[in-house]
Symmetry: C2
Subunit: 286 residues, 2 copies
């Protein structure tokens, strides 16, 4: 059996009791470590579980999944995923390979907290979110703006948009590679401020009024942990906000933002009276 | 401190390790028991936690929250919520009352699995869902169809729609009430089949081609538990499907359903070749 186990968002104690029991008994334990990161590191997890954990990077999961699935028709293998197992398509892919395996490998998924729902801590209603988008690091020559079209669709319906921010873990250093060496760049995590700046940059170019300086948004960091941070304001304000250590995400507020949502979110505002003024003028039940 | 603790979806062992530690130490433990139900009952939870649990019905949470919050500025109170704490607005409301309390009561939320993300077990991408809608039990004289407009908005963007199904817990028996007695009706949980039938009924009336007999959908039951059930098919097929015990939910598939999603979902189809035929003709990257 392959158990795909969600670890939740913050640290080693966010796993479910049931998940912990399975991890402690499994033949092998893998930790998927490239679509998200836990606020606890591998060593902390190993100490807590009382067992060794194999780090599974993108290459291992996508190209060497046979190693992960070896004996899984007879033994119990635990594949740990930060957040919820289905928060990234790569895990559905792994489950599909189990189904197509000869003989088929049974799978069992243990759901857990995900950024997709933990973002409810902002006070924004989870029922009023549209599609989720991802924001990648812009470079001088590569500024993909396809996110803008999907945000525009959500905006047209007055819905909120969760923006998931880029993570660079174990990225090869291309300059070193050209010299024949394999060196990895240090991990990078996009901040709320960077995301807000990039959104403003694309708005500047596309000018459809989707994510401008006065658009209301909420930045979140380390949700679910003891030092989670939530900051609300205009995109211009968030482009200056410092929410500290990773992981960050951003929500662009939809125009339908209800009075009850506003009442809660305003408590996190950089500038409460400005937030209120903009909400009253342009939001609140479009 | 008020701890709002998500219990996850299936049974008593889906709580996080951290959550369990807090529950075992808290001064009082409440279980919110009207927006969702766990597949474990109050007695099982009490045995597992080794403590008594106070059932909090709608009236208690909405009108007697002072009792729940009594001493919470000095003592630790645990308020347990099936699924994720922010899966229902009533919990944001409780957190807001803590913030407005004199003196303010600190709150801490422990996220957990929610139906909003567990539905990823269908293989449908969580990033491609639009707004979530609720379906209530129709009566002879009351068939609210406002869900149809919001589903139509999602459909116009090719997005999936999660439909959450009505739960009737501790509803007063109106006939008995008229005779001066307070009697509660037995709990009722809407099934996938009922939901599909009601959607077809409204489509029959509104005729905008939003949720017709050949619309693809996926029904789910008891997600996250050992006997979870997933059935895919047309709404007409799902109107005949029996997914067993509660809780049920339904997803109406969006036209953008990607090939990778289709490949996974078709494994749950009532009639695979019919599912494939309709997907190829009308879905798949609208």
């Amino acid at each position: 059996m392959l158990y795909i186990i969600g670890l939740g968002l913050a640290d080693e104690r966010d796993v479910s009791v049931r998940g912990l029991e399975i991890i402690r008994k499994a033949s092998r334990v893998y930790l998927e470590a490239y679509t998200a990161v836990l606020l606890a590191d591998q060593r902390q997890l190993e100490t807590y579980y009382g067992r060794s954990v194999i780090l599974a990077d993108r290459e291992m999961v996508e190209s060497q999944s046979d190693d992960i699935l070896a004996d899984a028709d007879e033994k119990d293998i635990a594949f740990l995923v930060v957040g919820d197992p289905f928060s990234a398509t790569t895990h559905t892919d792994l489950a599909l390979r189990c189904r197509q395996h000869t003989p088929p490998i049974p799978t069992r998924t243990l759901p857990n907290a995900s950024i997709l729902t933990a973002v409810g801590a902002t006070g924004l209603s989870l029922y009023s979110f549209g599609q989720t988008v991802s924001m990648v690091f812009f470079t001088q020559s590569w500024k993909p703006s396809s996110f803008y079209d999907r945000v525009a669709e959500n905006v047209s319906l007055g819905l909120h948009t969760l923006v998931l921010l880029d993570i660079k873990v174990k990225e090869p250093d291309l300059q070193a590679m050209a010299r024949g060496k394999i060196i990895y760049e240090p991990p990078r995590f996009m901040t709320v401020a960077q995301c807000a700046s990039q959104m403003l940059e694309v708005e500047e170019e596309r000018k459809q009024g989707i994510c401008g300086k006065e658009s209301l948004a909420v930045g979140v960091a380390r949700l679910g942990s003891d030092d989670q941070a939530i900051v609300a304001g205009t995109l211009e304000e968030l482009a200056q906000a410092d929410l500290g250590k990773p992981l960050h995400s951003l929500v662009l507020c939809g125009k339908k933002m209800h009075e009850m949502e506003w009442e809660y979110v305003r408590g996190f505002a950089v500038d409460e009276s400005k937030f209120d003024r903009i909400w009253k003028a342009h939001y609140g039940g479009m």
